[in-house]
């Protein structure tokens, strides 16, 4: 049925493409259009103002402060999450006996334990950590007191110097489990005899990890970096639930929050759309940069 083939293909593609166009592409286009207006979001009027929103954005200190916070998250969260993910994945995978790659005893339950935070909805995580971080009643400060490290206590969400890092820690806590599983899977896909050959060559556990496993994991780490980078730029739910006012001394406001405030508190949908478009472009830029910076030949086994 050669002649009917293309008709069938078009027919089957029509539905998903239409859905994609209407629900994904069209809002993008609409957002871009709205960013060129000064729509309040409450009335029907959408007066066209051209690039005024963008010009305002360029000189808005609130936006730049928020962007600065996102930039800090962008550097810290992927780095720490990936480092911890690799560390835990390697301890769970490079077994004790010579040359074999099998989990240490008890690896199974550990993997499930690590993954648990990832399946919690963001709001639940936020509420959970709100309690954990509570300066008087929370377990963290109480535990520090109990072991005699009371001097390390802090008002985790109230101190401008630590608030952003407290939230970054929550993001890392949520993400590590997923990347432990991802990196474990990638490590297990490395053929076992490469590890055996390294063992015979005299490589210690650490040298094998550093010279063999990590380079072979490069593509997986690249994917992880992009995912975490996007998460860092898009951070919202956690911040909005815990510190909806931007945090102590505006030290935790992130761009997504700023957008939310502009749209729903200040009634400036046009401006908020402009923020959204800029955020989208920055994310694309980050993804492209990550791909471009690590462009090398693919690894084949």
């Amino acid at each position: 049925m050669e002649h009917g083939k293309y008709r069938i293909i078009t027919l089957f593609l029509a539905a998903p493409l239409t859905l994609y166009g209407v629900f994904v592409l069209s809002p993008f286009a609409q957002a871009f259009y709205i960013s060129l207006t000064s729509w309040t979001g409450f009335t029907a009027a959408q007066p066209f103002v051209g690039l005024a929103n963008y010009r305002r954005l360029a000189s808005d200190p609130g936006f730049w402060k928020a962007l600065e916070h996102n930039a800090l998250l962008l550097v810290a969260v992927p780095l720490v999450t990936i480092a911890l993910g690799l560390f835990f994945a390697s301890t769970l995978n490079v077994g004790a006996s010579a040359g074999t790659v099998k989990g240490v005893r008890g690896a199974g339950p550990y993997q499930k334990l690590f993954f648990l935070p990832h399946i919690l909805p963001a709001v639940i995580t936020a509420v959970l950590w709100q309690f954990l971080y509570n300066p008087q009643l929370g377990p963290i400060n109480s535990a520090l007191d109990a072991v005699g490290l009371g001097s390390l206590k802090a008002t985790w969400l109230g101190d401008p110097a630590v608030a952003l890092w407290s939230l970054a820690a929550i993001m890392v806590w949520t993400g590590v489990g997923f990347y432990v599983v991802l990196f474990s899977a990638a490590m297990q896909s490395i053929p076992r005899d490469i590890y055996e050959a390294a063992d015979l060559d005299g490589s210690s556990r650490f040298q094998t990890m550093w010279r063999i496993t990590l380079p072979l994991l490069r593509e997986t780490v690249q994917v992880a970096w992009i995912y975490l980078g996007i998460a860092a730029l898009d951070a919202f739910a956690l911040f909005e639930v815990l510190l909806p006012d931007g945090g102590p001394d505006n030290s935790t406001n992130v761009v997504a929050q700023y957008l939310y405030q502009a749209a729903f508190q200040n009634g400036q949908f046009g401006y908020a759309s402009a923020i959204g478009v800029v955020l989208c472009l920055l994310t694309l830029l980050m993804a492209a940069a990550t791909f471009g910076l690590s462009r090398r030949e693919t690894i084949e086994f």
Partner: protein, 371 residues
């Protein structure tokens, strides 16, 4: 003196009842090329890996030279291994692959470069030193794997079926290269294969394993001429030896119409074990064709009548696969004939075993009975 000794080495996989390698006793001399051969699951790869330190040893000991290496980690044993799938590091160039062990050992860069280039020259890899493994053919990757082993200048080479992933022609070519390389370097080598042709052509000695037990270890010639049991007889030599169970008769065994003389001791041994039959082994090339009407053996029989089913013409020889009636049963036999005079399908040939070239095995135990 890097000899290798397996001293009742045993390996039982956790949860298993039967040992994968059962009390293996093997002495390998300095500079010897020993081939471990056997069917799948016989324990040859496991034995090699025990020697390498990649498998635990559950019983017995393994020694390299005078050192007991049974519980030493692989890197302390001063061995090098060539894996079946080469196990090259995909992200490193050929030169880095070959120099990896030296880099780990802390040898300086100039020295590493020198040794890598030397090995590259021996193996004809000089123009590939800066390529990555994925840009190499199978044969080239195999040479890189060998180069990686050579550069280390170990006491023992271990090779785990290195030729299985190569095409037939390349395999023949490479096996000569490996054999001559080993002779030139003089390093004790333990080589595992399932291919008995490789075993016979490459080894100074061959060890046949089955189900974890050592069947026979001997030079290829002796293995071929005097197999120690039924299994070795049927395993070594291609096409396989014809093995026919025949009843004992007065002064020998009844082979179809004729009586083949068999030594008194062999007959006595079989009778002592309570057998009424023995298994006679004759290689295809030791079955002689006889014309009709020739008087043979004492009772004037005409040899065994073989009806031709299939004929394989290989150019220099032809192999006839046929059926013969021995006693009450039909047995399949293989007969080698000259390539110039192959019979047709359906023809009846008369064959008689060449005197002195028959092997007698006990039917019950499989052990060799003739001298």
């Amino acid at each position: 003196m890097p000899t290798v000794t397996f001293d009742k080495a045993t390996r039982i996989y956790p949860g298993g009842t039967k040992p994968a390698v059962d009390a293996l006793d093997l002495d390998i001399a300095d500079g010897e090329f020993l081939v471990l051969v056997g069917p799948s699951g016989c324990g040859k790869s496991t034995s090699l890996r025990m020697l390498a330190g990649l498998e635990d040893v559950n019983g017995g000991a393994i020694r390299i030279g005078d050192r007991d290496v049974t519980h030493l980690p692989p890197k302390d044993r001063n061995i090098a291994m060539v894996f079946q799938n080469y196990a090259l590091y995909p992200h490193m160039t050929v030169a880095d692959n070959m120099g990896f062990a030296l880099k780990i050992a802390g040898v300086n860069k100039a020295e590493i470069r020198r040794k890598v280039e030397e090995a590259g020259k021996i193996l004809d890899l000089t123009e590939y030193l800066d390529r990555k493994p994925k840009a190499l053919s199978g044969g080239q990757r195999q040479r890189v794997a060998m180069g990686r082993a050579i550069v280390r200048e170990p006491q023992v080479f271990l090779m785990d079926e290195p030729l299985s992933n190569l095409d037939a022609k390349l395999r023949v070519q490479t096996r000569t290269q490996i054999a001559s390389l080993q002779r030139r370097l003089g390093i004790t080598t333990v080589y595992v294969t399932h291919d008995q042709v490789e075993a016979m052509t490459m080894g100074d000695r061959v060890a046949v394993l089955k189900d974890g037990l050592l069947q026979q270890v001997d030079t290829p010639r002796n293995m071929y001429d005097r197999p120690a049991n039924l299994f070795v007889a049927g395993f070594i030599g291609s096409p396989a030896m014809n093995l026919v169970e025949v009843p004992l008769a007065d002064g020998g065994v009844k082979f179809g119409e004729s009586v083949i003389p068999v030594s008194r001791t062999a007959v006595d041994e079989a009778a002592a074990a309570g057998d009424r039959t023995v298994t006679i082994g004759v290689r295809p090339e030791h079955l002689d064709l006889v014309g009709e009407g020739d008087a043979l053996a004492k009772d004037g029989g005409k040899g065994l009548a073989v009806t031709v089913n299939v004929v394989e013409e290989l150019g220099a020889d032809g192999y006839v696969y046929g059926t013969a009636k021995v006693g009450d049963e039909s047995k399949d036999l293989v007969v080698r004939v000259s390539g110039r005079a192959v019979p047709q399908k359906g023809e009846v040939l008369h064959v008689v075993p060449r005197s002195g070239e028959t092997h007698v095995f006990s039917t019950s135990s499989g052990a060799r009975l003739s001298d």
